[in-house]
Symmetry: C2
Subunit: 317 residues, 2 copies
């Protein structure tokens, strides 16, 4: 059976899997990223694990390797200055893996890998123009135009999370102010909740929570808590506003939401769609679908990385 | 000599020309768009003029026809609901011209045609990822990614002028508020000037002008007029802010400015570049060139339309 290797490198954990052409995970494993001070040791260990698995399962034939990583650069096959990894500077991942495997290897960032995963195996199947927005700790995005990812001239395109929606707004990890991800992400909605709770005169279920997370806010909203609903509404307005501006640029058929905050489902989708339509230029109104990812969340990262290899091997689909 | 026909349809005038592969206009002419109540009469007359010219100049061999028009749709080969033309609804321009010429015909909007003109014959030669921004009555834009225009799923992508930069800002012709083109365009800078003049307590050369235009504001700024310089600074801040957000999405190698307001040269380029860098995510800083168009302004529209035909005939360059 032909499979690609999909590898998702995170700050703590790295997960890998063998993915067949139908997007089924045939086998998976993981290692602790942060245990390896040297990227070369990390790559050697991971290569050994994959080779062991293949030796025990001779039916698999590798077609290529796709890697999703923070600050992954598609053009250079590198990780470049990733703030969430312990490895500093530029890591030539593609070359390092190719020293262990006689295979084509592609690298991109997590959100771009997620976009290719949706295109091959998820909600964007059959679409040529769409955007995937990942609402996790930050906000990542992958833009697909005419079936190809937008990498930009330097490989770093698709930073929707760092478009500014409020000049002089919230301070962002990037050191600027008002970036979309400070409002519309699992972290952003918690910031909104904490801000609102400080001055809230009414009663809210949120006041009884020990720990405020996007899941907790969603649970309170599900129970009809007015403050929690207001927090979702505000988050959705920032996201919908930003998506309307995005549509004016790339006019996608659909925008697909994924990740922690997207798990709130209709609580986030419905008001976001409403605000998006409200802020959108008339020629785009009622045309752009806002969808939830259909890739299983716990496998999405390796499916996306594996899809990257399948897409490149098979060419434009 | 092989030439394409480039046609630029405007509300008042339509200009056409024969363009060789080097981007030289070999012959040109024009007719009054608004004289023709029926688009079919317009197309018949224009076709006649072009055929006459060809009969008198047998050395020209046509390779195809490119048309730039307001609300031109590349996928459909149509003009769709153009507010500035007297023809209502959907005009199947491609089919109509093909009834007169046995040639491939392509249609797109003016800003997209301008982008292809810059790619083949202007400041974007050799670039694969860039954006052209036309600063005329409105603000148009054409996004090129990996040597291809972004048309979006419906053919209407690239409406940077209708991204919102100020929620609850200036009323736009599109009926929404705060669109970039209400600030950054030849019309937008005049609105800024009129607003500022109303409350201005100091002395300004602008107070002595009978008619305020973007050119007049530029002339006053060139003479060191403080208010005129302030008006350029504000315009540049809105434009630079918006371009920084744009860069985060498509990461172009360059952004090329064209049209009435771009003629102010350094007066608009320098502060726009400064604000763009100030609002830009660090990974993009000091990488993106902000350039002036190098296509001759009086021929740019037909060169862009002619380039559309050359690009399609020659394929990806």
């Amino acid at each position: 059976m032909k499979v690609s290797v999909g590898i998702d490198i995170g700050g703590t954990n790295t997960v890998w899997g063998l993915i067949n052409e139908q997007g089924q995970v045939q086998l998976e494993g993981s290692i602790q990223t942060k245990d390896y001070l040297e990227p070369s040791d990390f790559v050697a260990k991971l290569a050994l694990k994959i080779k062991d698995a293949l030796a025990q399962n001779p039916k698999f034939e590798l077609i290529g390797m796709g890697i999703g990583a923070p600050n992954g650069n598609y053009f250079n096959g590198t990780i470049e200055y990733a703030p969430n990894l312990i490895w500093e500077g530029i890591i030539p991942l593609q070359k390092m893996f190719q020293a262990h495997f006689n295979l084509p290897v592609w690298v991109t960032n997590d959100a771009n890998a997620a976009a290719i995963g949706e295109m091959l195996f998820g909600a964007a199947q059959g679409m040529k123009d769409f955007v995937v927005v990942t609402l996790g700790t930050g906000l990542g995005s992958g833009f697909v135009v005419n079936s190809e990812l937008i990498y930009g001239h330097d490989g770093f395109a698709g930073e929707l999370g760092h478009t500014i929606v409020e000049r002089n707004g919230r301070t962002c990890g990037c050191s600027r102010k008002g970036c979309l991800e400070t409002y519309a992400s699992a972290t952003g909605i918690v910031r909104t909740a904490k801000e609102r709770l400080t001055n809230y005169k009414g009663k809210s279920l949120l006041q009884e929570q020990e720990h405020i997370s996007s899941r907790v806010i969603a649970e309170c909203a599900h129970q009809g808590d007015a403050l929690a609903l207001e927090i979702f509404d505000y988050t959705a307005e920032q996201l919908g506003f930003s998506l309307a501006n995005t549509v004016a640029i790339s006019s996608p058929e659909a925008i697909i939401l994924f990740g922690g905050l997207a798990n709130a489902g209709a609580l986030i989708i419905d008001p976001t769609q409403r605000y998006m339509e409200q802020y959108m230029l008339n020629i785009f109104q009622n045309k752009v679908k806002l969808l939830l990812s259909t890739v299983p969340e716990h496998q999405a990262a390796i499916l996306g990385a594996g899809a990257l290899a399948w897409k490149n091997v098979n060419g434009a689909l």
